[in-house]
Protein backbone atom coordinates (compact mmCIF):
# COMPACT_ATOMS: atom_id res chain seq x y z
CA UNK A 1 0.00 0.00 0.00
CA UNK A 2 2.76 2.42 0.96
CA UNK A 3 4.31 2.11 -2.51
CA UNK A 4 1.34 4.11 -3.81
CA UNK A 5 3.43 7.19 -2.99
CA UNK A 6 6.09 6.24 -5.52
CA UNK A 7 3.55 6.55 -8.38
CA UNK A 8 2.64 9.82 -10.06
CA UNK A 9 -0.91 9.65 -8.69
CA UNK A 10 0.39 8.82 -5.20
CA UNK A 11 2.68 11.85 -5.16
CA UNK A 12 -0.23 14.03 -6.18
CA UNK A 13 -2.23 12.42 -3.38
CA UNK A 14 0.33 13.74 -0.89
CA UNK A 15 -0.07 17.23 -2.42
CA UNK A 16 -3.83 16.90 -2.12
CA UNK A 17 -3.97 15.67 1.49
CA UNK A 18 -1.37 18.15 2.78
CA UNK A 19 -3.02 20.90 0.74
CA UNK A 20 -6.44 20.23 2.27
CA UNK A 21 -4.89 20.20 5.74
CA UNK A 22 -3.13 23.52 5.10
CA UNK A 23 -6.35 25.01 3.74
CA UNK A 24 -8.18 24.03 6.91
CA UNK A 25 -5.41 25.68 8.91
CA UNK A 26 -5.73 28.88 6.84
CA UNK A 27 -9.42 29.08 7.71
CA UNK A 28 -8.67 28.80 11.46
CA UNK A 29 -5.79 31.27 11.11
CA UNK A 30 -7.99 33.82 9.33
CA UNK A 31 -10.82 33.42 11.85
CA UNK A 32 -8.47 34.22 14.75
CA UNK A 33 -6.85 37.08 12.82
CA UNK A 34 -10.18 38.72 12.05
CA UNK A 35 -10.39 39.39 15.81
CA UNK A 36 -7.63 41.98 15.23
CA UNK A 37 -10.36 44.19 13.84
CA UNK A 38 -12.45 43.90 17.03
CA UNK A 39 -12.05 46.53 19.76
CA UNK A 40 -8.72 47.50 21.33
CA UNK A 41 -7.02 44.13 21.00
CA UNK A 42 -8.16 42.33 24.15
CA UNK A 43 -10.29 39.83 22.22
CA UNK A 44 -7.41 39.05 19.85
CA UNK A 45 -4.87 38.75 22.66
CA UNK A 46 -7.12 36.35 24.54
CA UNK A 47 -7.68 34.27 21.39
CA UNK A 48 -3.93 34.24 20.60
CA UNK A 49 -3.18 33.23 24.18
CA UNK A 50 -5.79 30.47 23.99
CA UNK A 51 -4.18 29.16 20.80
CA UNK A 52 -0.67 29.38 22.29
CA UNK A 53 -1.57 27.47 25.47
CA UNK A 54 -4.08 24.99 24.08
CA UNK A 55 -2.67 21.41 24.36
CA UNK A 56 -4.42 20.41 21.08
CA UNK A 57 -2.47 23.11 19.26
CA UNK A 58 0.76 21.67 20.68
CA UNK A 59 0.02 18.48 18.75
CA UNK A 60 -1.29 20.19 15.62
CA UNK A 61 1.65 22.63 15.37
CA UNK A 62 4.30 20.02 14.48
CA UNK A 63 1.77 18.31 12.19
CA UNK A 64 1.32 21.63 10.43
CA UNK A 65 5.07 21.99 10.00
CA UNK A 66 5.21 18.45 8.56
CA UNK A 67 2.31 19.36 6.26
CA UNK A 68 4.20 22.36 4.93
CA UNK A 69 7.44 20.40 4.48
CA UNK A 70 5.75 17.55 2.60
CA UNK A 71 3.71 19.93 0.45
CA UNK A 72 6.83 21.87 -0.57
CA UNK A 73 9.10 18.84 -0.89
CA UNK A 74 6.72 16.82 -3.09
CA UNK A 75 5.83 19.90 -5.17
CA UNK A 76 9.55 20.18 -5.98
CA UNK A 77 9.90 16.46 -6.77
CA UNK A 78 6.82 16.49 -9.03
CA UNK A 79 7.82 19.72 -10.79
CA UNK A 80 11.34 18.47 -11.46
CA UNK A 81 10.01 15.23 -12.93
CA UNK A 82 7.42 17.05 -15.03
CA UNK A 83 10.07 19.38 -16.45
CA UNK A 84 11.76 16.38 -18.03
CA UNK A 85 8.67 15.23 -19.93
CA UNK A 86 9.10 17.69 -22.80
CA UNK A 87 12.78 18.05 -23.76
CA UNK A 88 11.96 20.01 -26.94
CA UNK A 89 9.34 22.68 -26.40
CA UNK A 90 6.86 24.26 -28.79
CA UNK A 91 7.83 27.39 -30.70
CA UNK A 92 4.31 28.76 -30.45
CA UNK A 93 1.60 28.17 -27.88
CA UNK A 94 -1.77 29.82 -27.68
CA UNK A 95 -4.54 29.85 -25.11
CA UNK A 96 -7.13 27.08 -25.06
CA UNK A 97 -9.58 29.35 -23.24
CA UNK A 98 -9.99 26.92 -20.34
CA UNK A 99 -6.68 26.62 -18.46
CA UNK A 100 -6.25 29.33 -15.83
CA UNK A 101 -2.94 31.13 -15.31
CA UNK A 102 -2.84 29.90 -11.71
CA UNK A 103 -3.23 26.26 -12.73
CA UNK A 104 -0.21 26.53 -15.02
CA UNK A 105 1.96 28.36 -12.48
CA UNK A 106 1.26 26.61 -9.18
CA UNK A 107 4.93 26.01 -8.40
CA UNK A 108 5.90 29.63 -9.07
CA UNK A 109 2.97 30.84 -6.96
CA UNK A 110 3.94 28.36 -4.24
CA UNK A 111 7.57 29.53 -4.31
CA UNK A 112 6.48 33.15 -3.91
CA UNK A 113 4.21 32.17 -1.03
CA UNK A 114 7.15 30.33 0.58
CA UNK A 115 9.29 33.50 0.49
CA UNK A 116 6.40 35.37 2.06
CA UNK A 117 5.96 32.60 4.65
CA UNK A 118 9.59 32.92 5.78
CA UNK A 119 9.22 36.69 6.25
CA UNK A 120 5.88 36.16 7.99
CA UNK A 121 7.32 33.58 10.41
CA UNK A 122 10.25 35.89 11.19
CA UNK A 123 7.86 38.79 11.86
CA UNK A 124 5.52 37.03 14.27
CA UNK A 125 5.99 33.33 14.97
CA UNK A 126 9.70 33.56 15.75
CA UNK A 127 9.24 36.55 18.07
CA UNK A 128 6.33 34.98 19.91
CA UNK A 129 8.02 31.63 20.27
CA UNK A 130 11.63 32.48 20.90
CA UNK A 131 11.83 36.26 21.34
CA UNK A 132 10.46 38.62 23.93
CA UNK A 133 7.00 40.07 23.50
CA UNK A 134 5.69 42.65 25.93
CA UNK A 135 3.18 41.15 28.37
CA UNK A 136 -0.22 42.68 29.06
CA UNK A 137 -2.51 42.07 32.02
CA UNK A 138 -6.29 41.80 31.85
CA UNK A 139 -7.74 41.47 35.37
CA UNK A 140 -5.58 38.76 36.92
CA UNK A 141 -4.47 37.19 33.63
CA UNK A 142 -1.13 38.11 32.07
CA UNK A 143 -0.42 37.20 28.47
CA UNK A 144 1.73 38.21 25.49
CA UNK A 145 0.55 41.40 23.84
CA UNK A 146 0.36 39.88 20.37
CA UNK A 147 -1.94 42.67 19.27
CA UNK A 148 0.77 45.25 19.91
CA UNK A 149 3.27 43.16 17.95
CA UNK A 150 0.98 42.91 14.92
CA UNK A 151 -0.41 46.43 14.97
CA UNK A 152 3.07 47.85 15.63
CA UNK A 153 4.45 46.22 12.48
CA UNK A 154 1.51 47.18 10.28
CA UNK A 155 1.28 50.77 11.54
CA UNK A 156 5.03 51.51 11.46
CA UNK A 157 6.02 49.99 8.13
CA UNK A 158 3.78 50.64 5.14
CA UNK A 159 5.85 48.35 2.92
CA UNK A 160 5.02 45.42 5.18
CA UNK A 161 1.34 46.19 4.54
CA UNK A 162 1.97 46.10 0.79
CA UNK A 163 3.98 42.89 1.16
CA UNK A 164 1.23 41.18 3.17
CA UNK A 165 -1.44 42.22 0.66
CA UNK A 166 0.67 40.84 -2.21
CA UNK A 167 1.23 37.64 -0.20
CA UNK A 168 -2.52 37.29 0.34
CA UNK A 169 -3.28 37.81 -3.36
CA UNK A 170 -0.72 35.17 -4.38
CA UNK A 171 -2.14 32.81 -1.78
CA UNK A 172 -5.65 33.44 -3.11
CA UNK A 173 -4.53 32.62 -6.66
CA UNK A 174 -2.78 29.45 -5.47
CA UNK A 175 -5.92 28.35 -3.62
CA UNK A 176 -8.32 29.21 -6.45
CA UNK A 177 -6.78 26.26 -8.30
CA UNK A 178 -5.49 24.18 -5.39
CA UNK A 179 -8.83 23.87 -3.64
CA UNK A 180 -10.78 22.07 -6.37
CA UNK A 181 -7.68 20.30 -7.71
CA UNK A 182 -7.20 18.69 -4.27
CA UNK A 183 -10.64 17.09 -4.53
CA UNK A 184 -10.01 16.09 -8.15
CA UNK A 185 -6.77 14.33 -7.14
CA UNK A 186 -8.55 12.53 -4.30
CA UNK A 187 -11.03 11.27 -6.87
CA UNK A 188 -13.93 13.22 -5.44
CA UNK A 189 -15.12 14.90 -8.60
CA UNK A 190 -17.46 14.26 -11.47
CA UNK A 191 -19.20 16.12 -14.25
CA UNK A 192 -21.63 17.69 -11.78
CA UNK A 193 -19.17 18.34 -8.97
CA UNK A 194 -16.53 19.93 -11.20
CA UNK A 195 -18.48 23.17 -11.58
CA UNK A 196 -19.55 23.17 -7.92
CA UNK A 197 -16.05 22.59 -6.60
CA UNK A 198 -14.66 25.31 -8.87
CA UNK A 199 -17.23 27.76 -7.54
CA UNK A 200 -16.48 26.82 -3.93
CA UNK A 201 -12.76 27.16 -4.73
CA UNK A 202 -13.22 30.72 -5.99
CA UNK A 203 -15.33 31.64 -2.95
CA UNK A 204 -12.80 30.10 -0.56
CA UNK A 205 -9.86 31.74 -2.34
CA UNK A 206 -11.64 35.10 -2.31
CA UNK A 207 -12.37 34.80 1.44
CA UNK A 208 -8.75 33.92 2.25
CA UNK A 209 -7.25 36.45 -0.17
CA UNK A 210 -9.38 39.42 0.85
CA UNK A 211 -9.54 38.39 4.50
CA UNK A 212 -5.79 38.44 4.95
CA UNK A 213 -5.53 41.66 2.86
CA UNK A 214 -8.05 43.54 4.98
CA UNK A 215 -5.96 43.24 8.17
CA UNK A 216 -2.80 45.14 7.06
CA UNK A 217 -4.94 47.62 5.09
CA UNK A 218 -7.05 48.29 8.19
CA UNK A 219 -3.99 49.18 10.26
CA UNK A 220 -2.47 51.22 7.43
CA UNK A 221 -5.57 53.26 6.72
CA UNK A 222 -7.43 53.52 10.03
CA UNK A 223 -4.79 53.37 12.76
Amino acid sequence: MIEIFSSSIGKKLIMSITGLFLMLFLLVHLTVNMLLLVGDGEVFNRAASFMATNPAIKIIEPLLAIGFVFHIFYATIITLKNRRTRPVGYSTTSSNGLSTWSSKNMYILGGTILIFLVIHLANFFWKLKFGTVEPITYGNETMANTYALVSGLFISYWWYDVLYVIGAIFLGLHLSHGFWAAFQTLGWNGTKWLKRLETIAYVYAAIIGTGFSIIPLYFLLFK
Binding site: E3, S8, K12, R86, T92, S94, S99, K104, G187, T191
Partner: protein, 247 residues
Protein backbone atom coordinates in the same frame (compact mmCIF):
# COMPACT_ATOMS: atom_id res chain seq x y z
CA UNK B 1 -6.51 32.08 -50.32
CA UNK B 2 -2.82 32.47 -49.53
CA UNK B 3 -1.03 30.99 -46.55
CA UNK B 4 2.55 31.00 -45.33
CA UNK B 5 3.48 27.75 -43.62
CA UNK B 6 6.22 27.47 -41.00
CA UNK B 7 6.70 23.71 -40.87
CA UNK B 8 8.97 21.68 -38.60
CA UNK B 9 11.28 19.57 -40.80
CA UNK B 10 13.30 16.79 -39.23
CA UNK B 11 14.98 14.06 -41.25
CA UNK B 12 14.80 11.32 -38.59
CA UNK B 13 14.68 10.80 -34.86
CA UNK B 14 18.42 11.40 -34.47
CA UNK B 15 18.74 14.57 -36.53
CA UNK B 16 18.16 18.08 -35.29
CA UNK B 17 15.12 19.61 -36.93
CA UNK B 18 14.35 23.17 -37.93
CA UNK B 19 11.48 25.25 -39.27
CA UNK B 20 11.14 25.81 -42.99
CA UNK B 21 8.83 28.30 -44.63
CA UNK B 22 6.59 27.48 -47.59
CA UNK B 23 4.13 29.74 -49.34
CA UNK B 24 0.92 28.45 -50.92
CA UNK B 25 -1.06 30.80 -53.16
CA UNK B 26 -3.98 28.66 -54.27
CA UNK B 27 -5.54 27.20 -51.16
CA UNK B 28 -9.29 26.56 -51.36
CA UNK B 29 -11.04 27.63 -48.13
CA UNK B 30 -12.97 24.35 -48.02
CA UNK B 31 -9.83 22.22 -48.13
CA UNK B 32 -9.04 20.29 -44.99
CA UNK B 33 -5.71 21.02 -43.35
CA UNK B 34 -4.37 17.69 -44.59
CA UNK B 35 -5.54 18.36 -48.16
CA UNK B 36 -3.67 21.64 -47.99
CA UNK B 37 -0.56 19.71 -46.89
CA UNK B 38 -1.19 17.23 -49.74
CA UNK B 39 -1.11 20.06 -52.25
CA UNK B 40 2.13 21.35 -50.74
CA UNK B 41 3.60 17.84 -50.95
CA UNK B 42 2.61 17.49 -54.62
CA UNK B 43 4.52 20.68 -55.33
CA UNK B 44 7.52 19.53 -53.30
CA UNK B 45 7.60 16.18 -55.14
CA UNK B 46 7.43 17.97 -58.53
CA UNK B 47 10.32 20.17 -57.43
CA UNK B 48 12.28 17.04 -56.51
CA UNK B 49 12.20 17.90 -52.79
CA UNK B 50 11.28 15.67 -49.89
CA UNK B 51 7.55 15.91 -49.03
CA UNK B 52 6.43 16.79 -45.51
CA UNK B 53 5.77 13.58 -43.57
CA UNK B 54 2.56 13.50 -41.51
CA UNK B 55 0.35 10.74 -40.10
CA UNK B 56 -3.14 10.27 -41.52
CA UNK B 57 -5.58 7.49 -42.24
CA UNK B 58 -9.37 7.79 -42.13
CA UNK B 59 -9.54 11.57 -42.62
CA UNK B 60 -12.95 11.65 -40.95
CA UNK B 61 -11.94 12.19 -37.36
CA UNK B 62 -12.29 8.68 -36.00
CA UNK B 63 -8.97 6.88 -36.41
CA UNK B 64 -6.73 9.09 -34.28
CA UNK B 65 -3.81 8.95 -36.73
CA UNK B 66 -3.51 12.60 -37.57
CA UNK B 67 -2.31 15.00 -34.98
CA UNK B 68 -0.40 18.19 -35.63
CA UNK B 69 0.31 21.14 -33.36
CA UNK B 70 -1.07 24.05 -35.38
CA UNK B 71 -0.58 27.68 -34.35
CA UNK B 72 0.15 26.71 -30.76
CA UNK B 73 -2.69 24.21 -30.26
CA UNK B 74 -3.11 20.48 -30.90
CA UNK B 75 -5.36 19.96 -33.94
CA UNK B 76 -5.47 23.74 -34.42
CA UNK B 77 -7.72 26.47 -33.16
CA UNK B 78 -11.09 24.80 -33.64
CA UNK B 79 -13.41 23.21 -31.13
CA UNK B 80 -13.49 19.39 -30.94
CA UNK B 81 -11.93 18.69 -34.30
CA UNK B 82 -9.07 16.53 -35.42
CA UNK B 83 -6.45 17.93 -37.81
CA UNK B 84 -8.12 16.17 -40.76
CA UNK B 85 -11.43 17.87 -39.97
CA UNK B 86 -9.90 21.32 -39.64
CA UNK B 87 -10.83 23.48 -42.65
CA UNK B 88 -8.68 26.17 -44.20
CA UNK B 89 -11.53 28.68 -43.88
CA UNK B 90 -10.65 28.79 -40.17
CA UNK B 91 -7.49 30.71 -41.13
CA UNK B 92 -7.11 34.25 -42.36
CA UNK B 93 -6.00 34.95 -45.91
CA UNK B 94 -2.25 35.53 -45.87
CA UNK B 95 -1.87 34.08 -42.37
CA UNK B 96 1.40 32.52 -41.21
CA UNK B 97 0.63 29.07 -39.81
CA UNK B 98 3.11 27.38 -37.49
CA UNK B 99 3.01 23.60 -37.89
CA UNK B 100 4.82 21.43 -35.32
CA UNK B 101 4.76 17.79 -34.25
CA UNK B 102 3.47 16.69 -30.81
CA UNK B 103 6.22 17.40 -28.29
CA UNK B 104 6.77 14.87 -25.51
CA UNK B 105 9.64 12.70 -24.33
CA UNK B 106 7.29 9.72 -24.61
CA UNK B 107 6.39 10.63 -28.22
CA UNK B 108 9.73 10.94 -30.04
CA UNK B 109 9.68 12.53 -33.50
CA UNK B 110 10.11 9.95 -36.27
CA UNK B 111 10.20 12.36 -39.20
CA UNK B 112 8.89 15.91 -39.72
CA UNK B 113 5.40 15.90 -38.15
CA UNK B 114 5.23 12.17 -37.45
CA UNK B 115 5.74 11.07 -33.86
CA UNK B 116 5.99 7.59 -32.39
CA UNK B 117 2.86 7.10 -30.29
CA UNK B 118 3.45 3.44 -29.55
CA UNK B 119 3.73 4.43 -25.87
CA UNK B 120 -0.08 4.49 -25.93
CA UNK B 121 -0.13 0.94 -27.30
CA UNK B 122 2.18 -0.17 -24.49
CA UNK B 123 -0.20 1.33 -21.91
CA UNK B 124 -3.12 -0.55 -23.51
CA UNK B 125 -1.05 -3.75 -23.60
CA UNK B 126 -0.42 -3.33 -19.87
CA UNK B 127 -4.11 -3.82 -19.09
CA UNK B 128 -6.47 -1.89 -21.34
CA UNK B 129 -8.55 -4.91 -22.22
CA UNK B 130 -11.00 -7.46 -20.79
CA UNK B 131 -9.57 -10.98 -20.57
CA UNK B 132 -12.83 -12.92 -20.46
CA UNK B 133 -13.84 -14.71 -23.61
CA UNK B 134 -17.07 -12.91 -24.40
CA UNK B 135 -18.19 -15.34 -27.11
CA UNK B 136 -20.99 -14.36 -29.47
CA UNK B 137 -23.13 -11.30 -28.83
CA UNK B 138 -25.58 -11.96 -26.01
CA UNK B 139 -29.28 -11.23 -25.96
CA UNK B 140 -29.98 -7.63 -25.08
CA UNK B 141 -30.34 -7.02 -21.32
CA UNK B 142 -29.12 -10.49 -20.33
CA UNK B 143 -26.37 -8.64 -18.49
CA UNK B 144 -28.05 -5.56 -17.03
CA UNK B 145 -25.98 -2.37 -17.39
CA UNK B 146 -27.44 0.85 -15.94
CA UNK B 147 -28.15 3.54 -18.52
CA UNK B 148 -25.75 5.96 -16.82
CA UNK B 149 -22.89 3.45 -17.04
CA UNK B 150 -23.66 2.72 -20.67
CA UNK B 151 -23.58 6.45 -21.47
CA UNK B 152 -20.30 7.02 -19.61
CA UNK B 153 -18.75 3.99 -21.30
CA UNK B 154 -19.84 5.24 -24.70
CA UNK B 155 -18.52 8.77 -24.08
CA UNK B 156 -15.13 7.54 -22.91
CA UNK B 157 -14.91 4.85 -25.60
CA UNK B 158 -14.95 7.70 -28.10
CA UNK B 159 -11.26 8.35 -27.27
CA UNK B 160 -9.35 7.81 -30.50
CA UNK B 161 -5.90 7.83 -28.87
CA UNK B 162 -4.65 10.72 -30.99
CA UNK B 163 -2.43 12.04 -28.18
CA UNK B 164 -3.71 15.63 -28.23
CA UNK B 165 -4.06 15.42 -24.43
CA UNK B 166 -0.34 14.64 -24.07
CA UNK B 167 0.58 17.30 -26.63
CA UNK B 168 -1.49 19.94 -24.84
CA UNK B 169 -0.47 19.13 -21.27
CA UNK B 170 2.33 21.23 -19.78
CA UNK B 171 3.62 18.02 -18.18
CA UNK B 172 3.01 15.83 -21.26
CA UNK B 173 0.77 13.73 -19.05
CA UNK B 174 -1.22 10.82 -20.45
CA UNK B 175 -3.77 10.93 -17.64
CA UNK B 176 -6.77 11.79 -19.84
CA UNK B 177 -6.01 8.94 -22.25
CA UNK B 178 -5.52 6.41 -19.43
CA UNK B 179 -8.57 7.80 -17.59
CA UNK B 180 -10.75 7.39 -20.68
CA UNK B 181 -9.70 3.76 -21.11
CA UNK B 182 -10.01 2.93 -17.40
CA UNK B 183 -13.41 4.60 -17.11
CA UNK B 184 -14.69 2.95 -20.26
CA UNK B 185 -13.78 -0.59 -19.15
CA UNK B 186 -14.78 -0.09 -15.52
CA UNK B 187 -18.42 0.59 -16.40
CA UNK B 188 -19.37 -2.99 -17.23
CA UNK B 189 -19.66 -6.11 -15.07
CA UNK B 190 -17.21 -7.90 -17.40
CA UNK B 191 -14.68 -5.10 -16.92
CA UNK B 192 -15.03 -4.87 -13.14
CA UNK B 193 -13.44 -8.27 -12.52
CA UNK B 194 -9.90 -7.15 -13.30
CA UNK B 195 -10.45 -3.40 -12.73
CA UNK B 196 -8.09 -3.06 -9.71
CA UNK B 197 -5.26 -4.93 -11.46
CA UNK B 198 -5.88 -3.06 -14.71
CA UNK B 199 -5.59 0.40 -13.19
CA UNK B 200 -2.42 -0.47 -11.27
CA UNK B 201 -0.71 -1.92 -14.34
CA UNK B 202 -1.74 0.87 -16.70
CA UNK B 203 -0.68 3.65 -14.31
CA UNK B 204 2.66 1.92 -13.63
CA UNK B 205 3.27 1.66 -17.38
CA UNK B 206 2.30 5.29 -17.92
CA UNK B 207 4.79 6.40 -15.26
CA UNK B 208 7.49 4.12 -16.64
CA UNK B 209 7.16 5.51 -20.18
CA UNK B 210 8.01 9.04 -19.09
CA UNK B 211 4.64 10.79 -19.12
CA UNK B 212 4.21 13.52 -16.51
CA UNK B 213 1.69 13.82 -13.71
CA UNK B 214 -1.61 15.69 -13.76
CA UNK B 215 -1.68 19.33 -12.63
CA UNK B 216 -5.39 19.70 -13.41
CA UNK B 217 -4.89 22.58 -15.84
CA UNK B 218 -7.69 21.11 -17.99
CA UNK B 219 -5.67 21.69 -21.18
CA UNK B 220 -6.28 18.05 -22.20
CA UNK B 221 -10.03 18.41 -21.90
CA UNK B 222 -9.98 21.68 -23.87
CA UNK B 223 -8.03 20.09 -26.73
CA UNK B 224 -9.58 16.61 -26.82
CA UNK B 225 -11.30 16.28 -30.21
CA UNK B 226 -13.84 13.99 -28.55
CA UNK B 227 -14.52 16.30 -25.62
CA UNK B 228 -13.60 13.79 -22.92
CA UNK B 229 -13.99 15.44 -19.53
CA UNK B 230 -11.36 15.57 -16.78
CA UNK B 231 -14.00 14.08 -14.51
CA UNK B 232 -12.71 10.79 -15.95
CA UNK B 233 -9.32 11.63 -14.39
CA UNK B 234 -11.05 11.92 -11.01
CA UNK B 235 -12.55 8.50 -11.72
CA UNK B 236 -9.08 7.14 -12.57
CA UNK B 237 -7.68 8.57 -9.32
CA UNK B 238 -10.54 6.98 -7.40
CA UNK B 239 -10.01 3.59 -9.06
CA UNK B 240 -6.25 3.75 -8.49
CA UNK B 241 -6.40 4.88 -4.84
CA UNK B 242 -9.01 2.26 -3.89
CA UNK B 243 -7.10 -0.48 -5.72
CA UNK B 244 -3.89 0.47 -3.91
CA UNK B 245 -5.61 0.74 -0.52
CA UNK B 246 -6.74 -2.88 -0.87
CA UNK B 247 -3.15 -4.09 -1.44
Amino acid sequence: MKVKLRIWRQKNSQSKGKFEVYELNDVAPDMSFLEMLDSLNQRLVKEGKSPVAFDHDCREGICGSCGIYINGRPHGNDHRTTTCELRMRRFKDGETITVEPWRAAAFPVVKDLVVDRSAFDKIIQAGGYISVNAGAAQDANSIPVPKHNADVAFDTASCIGCGACVAACKNASAMLFVAAKITHLAQFPQGRVEAPERVKRMVAKMDELGFGSCTNTRACEAECPKGISISTIAKLNREYITAKLKD
